[in-house]
Assembly symmetry: C2
Homo-oligomer: 711 residues x 2
Amino acid sequence: MFRFQIVVALLLVQGSGRLTNGLQFNVTDNQGQGFLVSLGKLQLFRHTFSSPILFVGTGLTSFSEDSGNFFIEDYISSRLPLSNYSIDCGQTSCTIRLSRGDTFVALRLQSEQSQPLVIDFEDQSSDFDRIWLRLKAEDGEEIYGGGEQFSYFNLRHRDQGRENVFPVWVREQGVGRNKSTQVTFAADVQSRAGGDYHTTYFPQPTFVSSRRYFLHHDGPNYAVLDFRSPEFHEIFVLGLPGKFFINSGDTLLGVVTAMTSFFGRMPALPDWIISGAILGLQGGTQTMLARYKYAKDNQIPVAALWIQDWSGKVEMPFGKRVNWDWTWDPAWYPGLDSAIQNLTREGVRVLAYINPYLRQNGHLFTEAATKGYLVKNETGGVYLQRSVTLVFASVDLTNPDAFKWYKNVIRTNMIDLGLGGWMADFGEYLPVDAKLYDGRSGLQAHNEWPVLWAKLNREVVEDAGRLGDIVFFMRAGYSGSISNYTTLMWNGDQDVDFSLADGVRSTIYGSLSMGMSGVGLTHFDIGGYTTFALLGLVRTKELFLRSAEMAVFTSVFRTHEGNQPEANVQWYSNDTAPSFARLAKQFALLKDYRKFVVNQVAGEGIPAIRPMKLIYEDDDAPYSQYLFGPDLLVAPVFTEMINEWPVVLPGGSDAYNWIHLWSGTAYRGGQTVTVAAPLGQPPVFYRSDSTYKQDFERLKNESKMADPIIG
Amino acid sequence: MFRFQIVVALLLVQGSGRLTNGLQFNVTDNQGQGFLVSLGKLQLFRHTFSSPILFVGTGLTSFSEDSGNFFIEDYISSRLPLSNYSIDCGQTSCTIRLSRGDTFVALRLQSEQSQPLVIDFEDQSSDFDRIWLRLKAEDGEEIYGGGEQFSYFNLRHRDQGRENVFPVWVREQGVGRNKSTQVTFAADVQSRAGGDYHTTYFPQPTFVSSRRYFLHHDGPNYAVLDFRSPEFHEIFVLGLPGKFFINSGDTLLGVVTAMTSFFGRMPALPDWIISGAILGLQGGTQTMLARYKYAKDNQIPVAALWIQDWSGKVEMPFGKRVNWDWTWDPAWYPGLDSAIQNLTREGVRVLAYINPYLRQNGHLFTEAATKGYLVKNETGGVYLQRSVTLVFASVDLTNPDAFKWYKNVIRTNMIDLGLGGWMADFGEYLPVDAKLYDGRSGLQAHNEWPVLWAKLNREVVEDAGRLGDIVFFMRAGYSGSISNYTTLMWNGDQDVDFSLADGVRSTIYGSLSMGMSGVGLTHFDIGGYTTFALLGLVRTKELFLRSAEMAVFTSVFRTHEGNQPEANVQWYSNDTAPSFARLAKQFALLKDYRKFVVNQVAGEGIPAIRPMKLIYEDDDAPYSQYLFGPDLLVAPVFTEMINEWPVVLPGGSDAYNWIHLWSGTAYRGGQTVTVAAPLGQPPVFYRSDSTYKQDFERLKNESKMADPIIG
């Protein structure tokens, strides 16, 4: 039996969590019968003739699109198991040549100091256009991450075979996202917009295994993560893949911090955004200021006013929409410039909105079209796209001149106006048949578009010297966009209901899976966004307050009126302001603790919203519970008409108890307790040994009064 | 260039249509670069290294089931193009050896006098468990058949890629069969019963190409017919395939008659069933006789009374269901024996109902379980199955003793009671993990079950010397069940609406596609079956009469009360009887012509309900028009509130005109005419040279009065 080992030097870890020192990857050749690749004690790839680690093939993959909803069909023509192999190892790398007949791939495995194991397609025959790579899987193994996944936290849940498969394609997340709900059905029938369990703005070909390793595929190509099999994980890549990176650790926390060290980490959030509420408003200067006055009258601590309609509104067949022509509309927002100055002087930022698209025949569209800055179609004309009834074109972010021009639009029209940040929306719609400046097709660049969009925004902020002050927040993402560029994520457009797949509770899995993909700073529209009044899908007061009470225990506290504001309960509706104000105050009271938490994201790469499994690997708490930072355990209530709620308190530590935030009762870990959970008092516990204990007690003492449940 | 030819002798044709005389199949070897297999002038297979005709592979195919609705997931592990080839031809056959590495298949092509070309897997390596065979396809080529297909007549319609793919798996047809309808959605959510465009009781791996050939795969294995590609048709078979049979002709009619000659043909229908209405009734002897009296009072020509609840009813959680314990229930039908005698004396048959399943703990179940006659589960116990809330077991039709015993149940309990026929329902539910007496699994025998069920019924009828008198009618089918055994098909359970995919109009494509699969005798529940009152899906008078007026121009005229009789309009509802009676009289008036038509099915293998394309290949009439026999052109109206309707009259003949049945107006062929189409006068035309002209004129003269449209 041939055995070859390469010693890889100590992996540096900046944060907490421990990683194997002197980590090795081994290629063990079982006398021509197969081979095994392991990393330390971890078996990664097990190859035999009948069950090889790599398949290559040919086929046809078609993409159709409707307003950012993509429909992908795969036809596999050939799929060859590359069963034969030879291994050739040098000082720091091994080359494994896999083949079948004339078809072959040479994989190079390599590892350098402080870096993950890299698997590279060093050479290959030219007779295939797609690959499937298989990793060894084990009984009971769980998989987390995959970018932002809303319907499942454990992607290898083993129910319903199909729903263990996750396509990696940036797109609209869809409405309802569950084919058995009436909302999803109606959205599908009306506009193919219903979504499914896997549809997301931010997929990422990265996952973390409960066997304590992460895998990342580095490349923008369409891919599929398939966790259906009891024996293997399979990664499909259309076209030639990029590099695969794998690293393991002694703990999941070690794996995640190593991953964020590898990817890069998000900058810390500025103090202003973690200290008060951001109020989502619309309707012009007068309305904005009147709402702000109402907020002050109700003693809501306000960090910012966010006005998505600063560029005006245009009449469309299905109602008014924001004018995608990114210039202050002084008719719609008269005196906005001085209003911003006055508010900023009071310590209140004004935030606005932009996306990478320009409304057809708007001023910016016309200018960009003249300059040749818009994405082109196959015949060389401007590629006109559609978001429901709105027709627009995409700025070609692969064109350096267009990129610079659009940066200048933001700098001039937004930063110079005095704005303190913005929603950097969209990024998912690049059509596969678009022709880009850099010579690529839309298919090749599609997944990379959010990265370019994030990079553009980041550069504007950095060029203005305002990083750490201005915050822009995005929903679309892909490998690199978040860790390298974006200052904050938000979970996109939730339905204004309690549903798991797309209601406000879907923000839990969304945030947790981002955390396991290297993205530690995220937030959501309090109370959800997507309203469908005809179907009775409107925001209730209970939903709004349940969502807001969860937001207290996250990084950012921001409201949105939703797409049909008049149909939804708002913080300024009837008698809602006092309850909302109390929650906003709670948020503000946690500011010191939150600062510590977001600094841990920036410094150590540990997500703010942490999966229970990340910290307490041996405990089987529900995935819907989470830790906000090291000391707070949160079990959000997202069921209607609930007055109490069971919580699994992790055990195994004798060093501290769990103190129920609202009653002060101490519980030992290792048990399930049911606590009162009236509106305004979600089940939250803190560690008895927390240095922020006094802050948590202030929360209890100053704002524990609960609202009665609203029916 | 090597060229090899085998001359195949004259193909005998019993009916009309011409076939190529001296048909040859050729294998042309293009100097190692590929080969071509043709039949006469028809190119069937074109093989090159990069586009081979055969792929083999491995994978996992899983089947889950819920009340006869099967859900199949395919995971392809490997798919090897067998690109290398060698050809070895003898006197009457060629062997083509296809390979890639050690993997190979030896295909034997052979043809004998009067028979189709046979392609056989003569030998193969043992390293695969599924195959894909590709035929050459051409621009504009259309594909018909595939058993009973409800949603499409042309299976290669080229819209929506996925919907050109037809799995061959016997199952419930599903409710709604269109994922964008509320009915389908509700059925899916309630019980996964919604169905899809391809779901059918009777799929068959047989198709006819507009290029004038048929292909048949002979074997029960799960298969998929894939017509997505512009370049090829692909046939998938799970496991080793059976033989493939291919034959071509000079005309489509020649192809279809050659196909029915090869398959075998159905016996002609007896006179009684083609001469009057069969009334579907329930509720006991008194109700049956009262309804019959009402029918006579309304001068409805009655051929038979059909009572599906002759064995009684049992209370179930969602309402009463027929008692699946196949013995006359004298409590529910007191005096049925003498009632049958009296009715038979009047010339009216009584028909009943049976299926191959036995209700748990019924008398027959208990007897069969004791004798070991029921299908077993993996641990050797009785395999309990479920139809919604009804629990039952299947008689093991592969056990000769059980088969004989069940034949005796029918003979004793049904024929000896005096019944004139029955619905031989179901046959679709055999679970894949069942263990059968003959050693096979349910997976292996699933598609064959309707064949065994048909064979059993046929043998009972033949043993009693009653073939040509007793008629049993089935919905489930598979290759061989119909052509060799079944006496009549019906289209199963249509929704009581006008929808294309599953409403009463779906009977048109269902009948036409059966006709192109070798099955020429079928009928349907007048007015549909599936009622869903909670969703507003109830039968209107308009729907009932539109469906009945179409049935006039088919082989059999039978009503069904539907699954919620009280929610539906019936022939005995309010003022419906006079209109219904007039249509039943029309049906009876056509009896001589109908006899000629059904004898053509039996004698020449030409279906009674004929696709326009089968007879008029050069005309592009809508697929929803059909010919009933040689002389009647029918364009059923299945849109609400219609008073006129466009009809495409085929041209190209100077020998005759098309006479509009209700007005007597003559039209030349080769034009589209719009005719009045009030309720009771569907657009029907007859050939001016028809020998049945006088019968058609009687229809016009004796019953042309139309009902006003019902809103």
